[in-house]
Amino acid sequence: MSVTTTYRTCPRSGLQFEHQAEWLIRANAFVGVVWLLIGGILAIGVVLTRWPAIHWLEAETFYMVLTAHGLDMLIFWMIFFEVAVLYFAASTLLRCRIATPRVAWLGFALMVIGSILNNVAVFRGASSVMMTSYVPMMAEPSFYLGLILFAVGALIACFVFFGTLVVAKREKTYEGSVPLVTFGAITAAIIAVFTISSGAIILIPTWLLSIGVVEQVDPLVYRTVWWAFGHSSQQINVAAHISVWYLVAAVAFGAKPMSERVSRMAFLLYILFLQLASAHHLLADPGLSTGWKVINTSYFMYFAVLASMIHGLTIPGAMEVAQRQKGFTKGLYEWLRKAPWGNPTFSGVFISIIGFGFLGGISGVMMGTEQLNMIIHNTIYVPGHFHATVVVGTTLTFMALTYYLIPVLFQREMIAPKLAKWQPYLFGFSMYFFCLVMMGAGTLGVSRRHWDMAFGGAALAYEWPGAAYLMMGLVGIAGLMAIVGGIAYIYITVGSLLWGRRLDAGATSPRFTPLPRATPTVIAQSYGSAGFAAPGTFVLALVFLVAFILYYFINWKYLSTLWLLS
């Protein structure tokens, strides 16, 4: 088949970018960052209002800003960037032209139009329904229509991704099986198809309700199906950012997966079980049976947690093996001490892995335990949890990846390298603290999505304990610090595109160079017989497990003191 396109070989990384794919990746990543910027500006309003001593915005504005912040961050920033990651994993890693570039651009256009339409509806002020938009509380029709268009565009992107895999297979651009990172991206795309379809299934009738064609959408059916979209979209993030972790381990250390079998099996567990997690949001609901709740919220039998615990070991483990091969073998942790801590691509990912596991992972299992959910549901513990998974996990990982992509994909020298060196630490650690104090406030019962914890104007106001006010004040401070970290990121990335020195694009050729297999290594062959290849990581994993077990049973202890319920 003759398709005229060109392939550029990046002189810095050796990656090969097909012309159309390269522009699609750039466009999607860039628009994603624009949404991150908008969402970040909105975060200022949210943080400064929930800080009780400042209590900045009026109630009406606050709820509008909070609605937009949720959508722009959780849906638009993430999914635009993920489309870029998908195209990168298919076209760039397989050295393949992108399938149907025109259709891909159509998908992109739909996503852009949809996201803008939705935001315009929100900022007109009559659609402050939160990201979840639970019926029967209604937004303007264009709120739903925007989301539907966006979803269709994202679905198109997924199919372009699958199409590209087919093209690569047919045109034999690679030998053997797809690389692990591509494999992970396939997981993300499969989850995305499920997710986006669920979104369409529930948002289309809701849109019809908003324009008066349909009479009623059942509130409980809405909640059940909406969460198959709302929570599952966070599972796309997980699959995508874990793929990026493997990618960064490979480019920063030359690390090889410890075992392809283990890592890929863990991704397969995600496909089978990860989406069941949408039940997490329905544990405090009426009408759903106990069996349904237990099976779903536990991802069948915590098999998706198992998969995450596996990735959490194998990625640092692969880094450790690679470092030990380079001769950093002293003690348990020389490999970690001598890691490239000044490289923001590495430090960002490492901070992300630790935070995602310790803060996001453990708290997620607490909330997803049917009975423990009663002490957490709809408290500010919930945003505390998902800022640990989605911001520390996904956003920080994507930030780290951009530092790698600026010279490689955008062919610019990064401006302010000193600032870039510090940015992951500032952003990551203030987010750690932010999540911790949020969970602290949530443990004391403070509500999420609430304008005034002093209940101004209510006759029967409740007085939160002083500690809750203290925690919410700390949420404000930590939030502002994280926002400063976010501004630094935007300055570095956008500044590099605008003012960064242009770098050599590298040679272009009309044909791809077929992708060879990895060479088998001695260490890979000796696995399973000699060894204990990553003892340092294993000890870290045990520390994680002990923290997990302790916190788990502390929560049960707390639960056992509550009123008797049955």
């Binding site: 106990t290 536990s298 198992l306 009663m374 408290t379 399973g528 497990l545």
Partner: protein, 179 residues
């Protein structure tokens, strides 16, 4: 850089497993199963399990039953809106409705006694957040959720709405007394 290259061996599922990974998978799987059976076991041995007893209802149907209880057992009223404080006998069916932006009525219960609490919403989704005990339950319109409760702490409790329900959401807070 083999995570971004095709694996050396096409049949990746034959790639050997290191002992670090093997042991960790064993430990993690064990822990996952413990957590799973903990959740199931709590239904057998634990005392805090959320009921799933639910009926479809309408605001009209529900308000009739709530009004009946209020007519029978009101002991006093509170605030300028004269919200009735209701002290139903232990063991009885008690009703709490959530609407924009109040809970109605105020319940007065006895410590250590068991009640069947019926909850629904008249309009949007609301949240039942009992403080400072910290029990949180979703209140969904159209569904009557029946929960058997036994208060074990006496004193004045508050019910905070913790599901966003519009501009007056932050004023939606009520009381519950336990004697």
């Amino acid at each position: 850089m083999s995570a971004i290259l095709p694996p050396a061996d096409r049949l990746w599922y034959k790639h050997p497993i290191d002992r670090v990974e093997g042991m960790w998978i064993g430990i993690a799987l064990t822990w996952c199963l413990i957590m799973f059976f903990m959740m199931v076991g709590w239904h057998v041995w634990g005392k805090q399990n959320l009921s799933t007893e639910t009926y479809r209802t309408t605001p009209e149907q529900f308000v009739v039953k709530a009004q009946e209880m209020v007519d029978k057992y009101t002991v006093r009223t509170e605030t300028e809106q004269e919200i009735p404080v209701v002290a139903p006998p232990p063991g009885s069916d008690i009703y709490l409705l959530a609407r924009l932006w109040a809970f109605w009525p105020i319940l007065e219960l006895e410590k250590g006694k068991t009640y069947r609490l019926h909850m629904t919403s008249m309009d949007y989704n609301h949240g039942f957040s009992l403080q400072p005990t910290n029990i949180n339950i979703q209140v969904v319109p159209g569904f009557e959720h029946v929960i058997t409760i036994t208060p074990n702490q006496s004193g004045q409790h508050s019910i905070v709405c913790n599901e966003f329900c519009g501009i007056g959401h932050h004023t939606m807070v009520s009381r519950l007394y336990v004697k």
